[in-house]
């Protein structure tokens, strides 16, 4: 089962499962088992943006005038997001590409990870603008205990999967002694690790970013740090798409038509999936506590943010067929939604090719009825 970059086995790609079938040979999209991944790729490409397009120069003045406790909120969120996108910019490629079996899914994974690298670059763009000493901000990420605590849970499932794949592709199923240490691996166990990893990524994109998003938009509601908010909107738009991607993967796995083992695993891991969601929500609530330790900001405090975490956790769980775990049913910060509407993301249409520009402006179908209310 060693990985090969160009599998010589002639196979019918339409019969391959998403993962753990034959490695992909020809990147062809004339036939697709799951057309949705091609549609996600096209959408993601239409979203393309560059951090340098957004002017963040006014943010420097805003930032200098923020009280210390609000500076802490702003910069801590930026550090946390930097961690999340550092992981997301590389891990889908490292973990999923060696085991993927469908060309459209392979390309979606690459497109997805690439867009995360744009997010990473945008954080440097923001930090360079607001701070004369950007290195201090980035250096602290590896020293900040609150961030490192989260890093552990964000990366654990990826690392378990990657280690398992390395062992399996080198030695195959069974118990192996490597450098004096004994390891066991089976394909079924690998599939279990894959399912949990996709679940954990889903949680990362569904919940972990949103505390930070809420704070960025709360600043912008006060007309502060608006350049940053513009960038965060573009990031949020991408993340919503990535989330849809992982939700599709999870739902395809759970349905079992793609790979019967995965449906069985989805059932077996149900309890663990609940634990992953619950733990992430608790960690994000702890993070809200840390953010507001020296004081709240106007329009947002720890309690409201914690309620929002509960609300969004419920809604994300229901999206993949799970039950809500928190009593919260109302969105405590409904104003955040207008910041997340993709139509309101201002871009030059000719550069970004937003779908509404392409389809809305030219109507080729004209008939007599269109002149009905036309008088001379």
């Amino acid at each position: 089962m060693a990985y090969t970059t160009f599998n010589r086995q002639i196979n019918d790609q339409m019969k391959e499962p998403m993962f753990f079938g034959n490695p992909v040979n020809v990147s062809r999209y004339d036939q697709q088992k799951y057309g949705i991944f091609e549609k996600l790729i096209e959408k993601q490409l239409s979203f393309f943006w560059r951090p340098e397009e957004v002017d963040v120069s006014k943010d420097r003045i805003d930032y200098q005038n923020l009280p210390e406790h609000e500076k802490h909120i702003f910069i801590s969120n930026l550090k946390y997001q930097t961690l999340l996108d550092s992981v997301q910019g590389r891990s889908p490629n490292v973990a999923f590409l060696p085991i993927v079996s469908l060309p459209e899914l392979e390309t979606w994974i690459e497109t997805w990870a690439f867009s995360e690298t744009i997010h990473s670059r945008s954080y440097t763009h923001i930090v360079r603008n607001i701070s004369a000493e950007p290195h201090k901000v980035f250096d602290d990420i590896m020293l900040n205990e609150k961030i490192l605590e989260r890093a552990e849970d964000v990366t654990r499932y990826y690392d378990d999967l990657i280690n398992g794949i390395n062992l399996y592709q080198r030695c195959g199923e069974g118990t192996h002694t490597i450098n004096g240490e004994t390891h066991s691996i089976s394909l079924y166990e690998l599939k279990r690790r894959l399912y949990l990893c996709v679940m954990s990524v889903n949680v990362l994109e569904a919940i972990r970013f949103y505390v930070s998003f809420a704070c960025s938009f709360a600043f912008a509601e006060r007309e502060l740090m608006e350049g940053n908010a513009k960038i965060i909107r573009l990031i949020a738009r991408d993340e919503a798409l990535h989330l849809t991607g992982t939700q599709h993967m999870l739902n395809i796995m759970a349905a079992g038509d793609d790979d019967a083992d995965m449906a069985k695993i989805a059932k077996e891991c149900e309890e663990e999936a609940y634990t992953i969601f619950r733990k992430a929500a608790e960690q994000e609530k702890d993070w809200a506590q840390y953010l507001f330790k020296d004081g709240s900001m106007i329009g947002l405090n720890k309690d409201i943010l914690c309620q929002y975490v509960e609300y969004i956790t419920n809604s994300r769980m229901q999206a993949i067929g799970m039950k809500a775990i928190f009593p919260t049913t109302q969105n405590p910060i409904p104003w955040i939604n207008t910041w997340l509407v993709s139509d309101n993301v201002q871009v030059a249409p000719q550069e970004a090719e937003i779908s509404s520009y392409l389809v809305g402006q030219i109507d080729n179908e004209v008939d007599g009825g269109d002149f009905g209310d036309f008088d001379l």
Binding site: A240, L243, T244, I320, V341
Partner: protein
């Protein structure tokens, strides 16, 4: 014009002045969660208890059986829905 019946018994008439079901529901001051309003995030997911909707743009978000996205759909027949 099709009627939209809500699970609490209220009935709203869908007329052509509303572009989508989400617009029609919001006009009645109903709180429906939404993010992208374009069918790719799935935040506005509601339950379709009976009737039929058609999509202006085919949604990218995963829509499970018995659910629909009001942000990019219009009713074809009278429908009964539940807002989560």
């Amino acid at each position: 014009m099709p009627d939209i019946k809500l699970s609490n018994g209220a009935v709203i008439n869908f007329d052509n002045s509303a572009r989508t079901l989400l617009d029609a529901l919001e006009r009645e001051q109903l709180e429906v969660n939404f993010h992208c309003r374009e069918g790719y995030c799935g935040a506005c997911r509601c339950k379709l208890l009976c009737g039929e909707v058609s999509y202006i743009n085919e949604p990218l978000a995963f829509v499970r059986k018995g659910e629909f996205l009001p942000c990019c759909s219009v009713p074809v027949t009278d429908i009964e829905i539940e807002i989560p």
